[in-house]
C-alpha cells in the first residue's frame, strides 16, 4: 500500500474514525487523553449530509427518508456502543483495537512523509553515509577454461591444461564445453557470481593479471583463469545513482517519520518492564 493510498484511505474514514484520529492527534500534541466524560451524542447537519452523500455514492441515488433515519440510527448506535465500550475500558485488552489504533497512527505519520521531496544535499548525505551501497560494482575482464568437477584427476588435468595455455594454445581448444562464456569483457561482479558463485569472484580479485593461473574453484568445478583487467568500484556520483538514492530516501523517510512520531509519543511515557524471574 503506498503512502498516498494510506493517506487517502485515512481521509475517507467515517466521521467516527475521523473524530477519533483527531482526538489522537490532539492527544499526541498536547499529551492529554481525550475526554471520555462527554455524555452528548450530537449528529449535526454536516454529519447527516455526509451519511447521505456516502449512501448516494454507493447506490447512485439519494437515500429515502426511511433509509436516512436508518443510517442515523445506526450511527448513533455505533457512537453509543463505542463510547460506552471506551468508558468500560474494553479497548484496552483487545489486540485488534490496539493494532488498528497503531495502524491509524502510522497512516498519520506516513502522510506527512509523502508530502516531502528530497534535496540534492539530502541525497548526497545518504550517499556519503553508505558509499559502498551506491558504488558501481567491480568489473572483471577475463578468460576462463573449464577443467571439470574438483577431483585429484581434474587437478592433474588442470596442470597439463595450464601448461598448454601458457604454451600458447587457444582457450577454445582446451576447455571442456560448458554453457557459460569463455571470455568475459567488463562484467560486474554480481553477473560473474550468478554464473560461477561468490567464491569464484573472491578468487578473481586476487589473481595476477595478464597470465593464465589456477586451478580456481567455482561453484561448478575447476577453472584456469587469465584476468586481463579489473575496474575497481568507482566513487558514486549523485548524477549516476540519483534514482537508487531517491528510492532509498523515500523508503527511509517513511520509516524515519514513523520512528520520530513514535519517539515523540514515547517521551510522554515511563516504560517499565518487569521480566519474569
Amino acid at each position: 500500500m503506498t503512502l498516498r493510498d494510506r493517506a487517502a484511505a485515512w481521509l475517507h474514514e467515517p466521521l467516527v474514525h475521523f473524530l477519533l484520529a483527531g482526538a489522537v492527534v490532539y492527544a499526541m500534541l498536547s499529551g492529554r487523553a481525550p475526554d471520555l466524560g462527554e455524555r452528548r451524542i450530537l449528529v449535526d447537519q454536516a454529519a447527516v449530509s455526509q451519511l447521505a452523500a456516502r449512501w448516494t455514492q454507493s447506490f447512485r441515488r439519494a437515500p429515502s427518508p426511511g433509509e436516512l433515519d436508518g443510517l442515523i440510527a445506526d450511527y448513533v448506535r455505533d457512537q453509543a456502543y463505542y463510547r460506552e465500550a471506551l468508558r468500560l475500558g474494553l479497548d484496552k485488552d483487545d489486540e485488534v483495537v490496539v493494532k488498528r489504533m497503531r495502524n491509524k497512527m502510522l497512516a498519520l505519520a506516513a502522510s506527512e512523509a509523502e508530502a516531502a521531496s528530497p534535496s540534492d544535499i539530502q541525497l548526497q548525505e545518504l550517499i556519503d553515509k553508505n558509499p559502498a551501497r551506491y558504488a558501481a560494482e567491480t568489473r572483471f575482464s577475463f578468460d576462463q577454461v573449464y577443467v571439470g568437477a574438483d577431483s585429484p584427476k581434474s587437478r592433474d588435468k588442470a596442470r597439463m591444461a595450464l601448461a598448454k595455455l601458457r604454451g600458447g594454445s587457444r582457450s577454445e581448444d582446451v576447455s571442456q564445453p560448458v554453457p557459460i562464456p569463455l571470455h568475459f569483457a567488463g562484467e560486474p561482479a554480481s553477473t560473474v557470481a550468478s554464473m560461477l558463485g561468490d567464491s569464484f569472484v573472491a578468487s578473481l580479485r586476487d589473481l595476477p593479471t595478464g597470465q593464465w593461473s589456477g586451478p580456481v574453484l567455482s561453484g561448478v568445478g575447476l577453472h584456469l583463469v587469465r584476468v586481463s583487467a579489473r575496474t575497481a568500484a568507482a566513487k558514486p556520483r549523485l548524477e549516476d545513482v540519483r534514482q537508487a538514492v531517491e528510492n532509498d530516501w523515500r523508503a527511509n523517510t517513511a520509516r524515519r517519520a514513523e520512528d520520530a512520531a513514535y519517539r515523540r509519543i514515547l517521551e510522554g511515557y515511563d516504560v517499565v518492564i518487569e521480566m519474569p524471574k
Binding site: M1, T2, R4, D5, A7, A8, A9, W10, L11, H12, E13, P14, V16, L51, R54, Q57, S58, F59, R60, L71, D74, Y75, D78, E95, V96, R100, S117, G148, A149, R170, E172, D173, Q176, P177, V178, P179, I180, P181, P188, S190, T191, A193, S194, M195, L196, G197, F200, S218, G219, V220, G221, L238, E239, D240, V241, R242, Q243, A244, E246, N247
Partner: protein, 637 residues
Amino acid sequence: MKAQLLCTAMLCAALSLTGCDKVSQAMAGQKAAADIPESAYPERVLWGDLHLHTANSVDAFGFGNRLGPEDALRFARGEEVTSSTGIKAKLARALDFVVITDHAEGMGSTMALYNAPRIMVRDPQVLRWYDMMHEGPDQSVQAMAEILQARAKGTLPPMFRDPAASAKRTHNVWNTHLDTVERYNDPGKFTAMMGFEYTLMQGGNNLHRNVIFRDGKDRVGQIDPLDPTNEATPDKLWDYMDAYQARTGGKVLAIPHNSNVSNGLMFMMSDGAGKTMTAAWAKRRADHEPVVEVTQIKGDSEAHPFLSPNDEFAGFGTNGWDIGNLMLTEAKKPEMYASEYVREALKRGLALEQKLGNNPYKFGLIGSTDSHTSLSTGDENNFFGKHTGNEPSARRAMATQSLGTTLGRFGWQYLAGGYAGVWAKANTRAAIWDALARREVYATTGPRMTVRFFGGADFKIDDLKGDWVKTGYARGVPMGGNLTVGTGARPSFIVSALKDPDGANLDRVQVVKGWVDSAGALHEKVFDVVWSDMARRKQAQGKVPAVGDTVDVAKASYTNTIGAPVLGTVWTDPEFNPAYRAFYYVRVLEIPTPTWPAYDALRFKIQLGPDVVTKAQERAYSSPIWYTPASAKPAAA
C-alpha cells in the same frame, strides 16, 4: 462494496498527478534502456519471476499480505525486507528481473474494503467478512477463502460483481503501481516490467493468464488492466491486447498458468468456447500466448503419470493438485488430464496443426512463483509460502490449505519454486520480452541450472567443442525455434546443462520427443541422452539406473558426491520419420535434494506426516524445438 469505495479512488486520482512529475524528474541518474547494447546472441541466462502478487491483489491482502509493490521490487533485487508476519526476508541471490502481476479484478479492493468505514458495509455477508478480516490473521485467511469460494460458485454478493464500479479504483491503484515500477527499473542491472494477472475462471476452473508488457508507463499507462469478471474464454483478453498494440504501438503477450487445475479446459481440442477449433482461432491463440508457465507453487504441469506411464519421472509436484480444480468445487476425472498437462498439449498442437495448418499450442516454457507474499522465493531452504497465511511457521507444512474447506490439499503440497530462465540479449524490458516472444526461455522448479539447447540438421559430437555456442546459433536454432532438415538428414541437437553454482549436481539430461503420425495419432518418448557416471550406470532395457540419494532428511542436507556439475552431448534422433511433425524439449534432473518441509521440520522441530514428500529431484524444462516436414504447410509464426 466496490461502489462504496469509489471515493477513495477519486481522491487518489487527484493526488497521483504530482507523482508523474516526480517520476520524470527522477528518471535522471538511471541508465536509459537505449544505452544498453544488445549482444549479437544471448550470452548469459537472466533469472526472474514473471508471476508475483502484492498487497494490491484482492486475495493476497485478504490472506494478510501488507507488503506493496515497492517491497516486492526491493526484495527481488536482493534487499532485505520484513515480511507481513514480521520475519526478516532476503534472497540468497538477487533476481535479474521481475514482473508484478496483481489480479486485475478488484485491484486494491480488499485493502480498500479493509480500510473502509464499517458503517458503509451494508451487505450482511460482506460485513461478516469485513469483521473477520479485522479480527486477526487466521480469521482473515478464512474470510478470503470464503470470498474465493463464493466467487467460484458464483454466489458473491451483488456489490462484488460490478466491474464498472471497480474500474476507477483499479485505474488509480494501477497508475501508482506503474510509477513505482518505473522508479525501480534499472536497465542493464535489474529490470522491473509491467503486467497484471487476468484471472479468468469457469466456475472453480483455472484459466488464468499473466499479461506481460514490453513497454514503460508512457504506453502502459494509457490503458487499465482488464477485468475478467463475467468472461468465460480468453477472446476478450486477446481483443484487449490487440487494442493496446494498435493504440500505443507497444507490445504485449499473455502467459497461461496452472493448467493442472483447469479441469480439462486449458488445452482443449476445441476452441475456448467448446466449439470446433478454426485455423484462425488456433493462430490467434499462438500469436497472443507464445509461452506457458509450467511450474509454480501450486504444482507442476509438465507431465502426469496417467498420460505418460512410461516416464518414471512424470508426476513431479502433482500431489494434491490433480484431485480437482483450483477451488476444489469439482473433482478431477481422468479424461481431463489430457487438456491439462503441457507435454500432451504440445502433442495436441501438432495434431491440430496437421489438421488446420496452424498450431495453437506452440509455446515455450517458463517457471515462476505465483507468490502472494510479495516475496519471490524459489529456494527450498528459504521458502516464504504461497500466501501470508503460510509464511514460515511450525504448523504450515501439515495445515490444510484447501480454501474454504477441510478436504484435499495440505501445506506440504505447495512447491518452493519456480523461476524463469531467459536467454535475452540484454537485461532490458525489450530484450527480455523479445526472448519470451521467440520462446528462447526455460523453466526451472527453483534451482538456477544453465541450459543450452540447439537443434540443427547435421550437428556432430565435435560441434560441442571450441566456440560451440556460436556454432549452435550459426548452424541451428536455439530452444523455442523451428527446424526443417533436408532430404536424408536427421534432426540433431547440441545440449549442455550446468548445475546451479550454489546448488546440487545433475543426474541426467533427457530429450522429450512428441510426434503425430500420418493417421493423426499422438506419441511421446523420453530419451536419456547424457547422465553422470555413464561408465558405471549402464542403460538396461532402455532405462538408466537411478543416480542414488545422499539426502539426510533429519538434517535437511545432501552432498554433491554423486551426479555431475555439467552434462553435455550432441544427440541425433534415432527414430526420426521425416514425414511426421515432432517437437523436442530438454528435461534436466538434479540429484535428490531435501524439500522445504524437510527444512521446516529441522528448523521448527516438527513431525511430518507419512505422506509428506521430503526429497525430490528438482528439474529444468527447456522450451521445445519443433520439426515440421519440408512438404508441410509452414506453421504460422
